[in-house]
Amino acid sequence: MPSRYLVQFAQAHEEFRLPELQSISELNGFTIQFLDDPECNDPKRPFMVLELENEEQARLLARRCILVKAVYDYYGHGSTYEALHEVNRSSKPKWEQYIPDTSFKFIVSGFNHTIPQRRQRDVIESFAYMDFLGEINMKTPQILLACFEEYDESFKRPREEHAGDGGFRQLYFGRLLEEGTARPLVNVFDVKKRKYFGNTSMEAEISLLMANQTMASPGKLMYDPFIGTGSMAYPTAHFGSLMFGSDIDGRQMRGKTYDHPSSNLKSEPGVFRAAKQYGVDGRILDLATFDMTNHPWRCGGFFDAIITDPPYGRLGRKRELSDRQKELCRIHREAPQPEDTPYIPPTKPYELSHLVSDLILFARYLLKPEGRLVFFLPTVNDEYEEVDVHNSLCEGMEVIANSLQDFGSWGRRLITIRKTTLQSYPPPTFEAQREESHTPAHKDFREKYFQGFKAPLSEPSPLDSPKLADQ
């Protein structure tokens, strides 16, 4: 018999909530039933009611989902206290075991609103019919009962104290099962406290969400082809997976302290240092310097997931080589220099829409069947269309989640793609020339970003076109 559980979300990244719940339930081999009730199934709101097979499944979600603040055994919801009490009465089989001698604490809490103390007492008293005989214990209760009043966004605005009190949209009531224990990882992996990071390091919360989208767990092998300073490697390894990383620029993985050829000091590469800090250095399988478009993989079909934040030049990575580097290139061209610092190739501009299609082909080659590709795609919000992502897809690869992190005029989408085919495919050819029928909103993203997403002055803006005359 499935049972209902109340989920309280952390107030962040609404679009990432459902994909995360689904990934973690799939990882643990169960499915979530969502209720056919708009008050209980809207991931944009702070509370959601789920149907699960058992309590353990709800606890698993609380222990792994970064966006779950707490899970509760669900006793009822309603738009008025009368309605809530009616549902709660019918839930009696779930709570009657606590009547005789269980110590308890009762909290009443408002979302987007602070409920005056006096009314909190009234609310608690309105539950008197539950007739709990155990003592009230504020410090170490055996159970915690929580009643939430959800107010609309507008309640956040400054106003007279307690104005509008009681004008809630919905009520939720249940018994606390477990606080979300994955959420504190956001603090553990805080980039500012990390021993090694760079200006392209991904913030901890997002890296953790990405790691959950890969369904990272012990015994899995993962790969980041643009590993940089390793932001996604640490949480993925924390969840038990082995992580392989490569990057065209070895300096990103090593960090500045990397010894100069003239010095005898050997310093540990930065990614290993940070991995040690988190106790996951043993799970960084290996790092290697190479470019995705010229890779040395002997075969494909062995990674469980690919997790990456591709370079899209927002931070001006399209750099010129210094004179010293140009000199190194010249020396390398003329004679091999095994003792020298690694050869650093000049980076070429790589059009983002091509990079994305190539990355998906590359993932199809390297992933096991059912393996996942999880990556960020920056895009211009006003121009974005669903087809932008779908046109980059190839046979055997299917989008299973697409969540926007909105920065106003632009945003980035966390895309999760599953390899649905059992077939083996050859590695991609990474051709430079290709034809396109549709121009996606992420095309020439870097140029658009630096122009502030305004149409270039030399070309007529689409707003000037005679569209208005048609109406």
């Binding site: 050997k266 290697a288 002997r298 095994p338 690694p342």
Partner: protein, 123 residues
């Protein structure tokens, strides 16, 4: 680093070097043995992807003779533990990997192999 599991997956990728480009030969290696978590399911799952002869030869070259010449049919615990040790616990920290065919040398520094090719080796 450069564990033998990684070594077993990398081939020379110089333009036009398509035959006899695997396995790369280790040169002037500095080894380190570091214990790794043993996960028998992972080792078993990875077995089909291994080029067995390349792994055994390379392990022997580096002084580990625990693996049999032929891949056994029975996967007992001792065998999986030996395989785990060879794949994940032997680290090549310094040295180089050299292509048996075109002799291209991929240097390894602080455990990170440089597999980048210069422009003339790509195009």
């Amino acid at each position: 680093m450069v564990r033998l599991i990684t070594h077993n997956l990398l081939a020379c990728h110089v333009k036009g070097c398509n035959a006899n480009n695997f396995p790369l030969e280790f040169r002037n290696v500095e080894l380190e043995i570091r214990e790794a978590e043993f996960n028998p399911d992972f080792v078993k799952g990875f077995l089909p992807k291994i080029e067995w002869k390349a792994l055994v030869d390379t392990a022997r070259q580096l002084g580990d003779t625990s693996l049999p010449e032929e891949q056994p049919e029975m996967l007992d615990d001792d065998f999986l533990k030996n395989l785990h040790h060879v794949l994940l616990e032997i680290h090549v920290e310094e040295g180089a990997m050299v292509c048996p065919n075109c002799k291209h040398e991929y240097p390894i520094a602080s455990g990170i192999p440089n597999m980048l090719l210069a422009e003339h080796e790509i195009a």
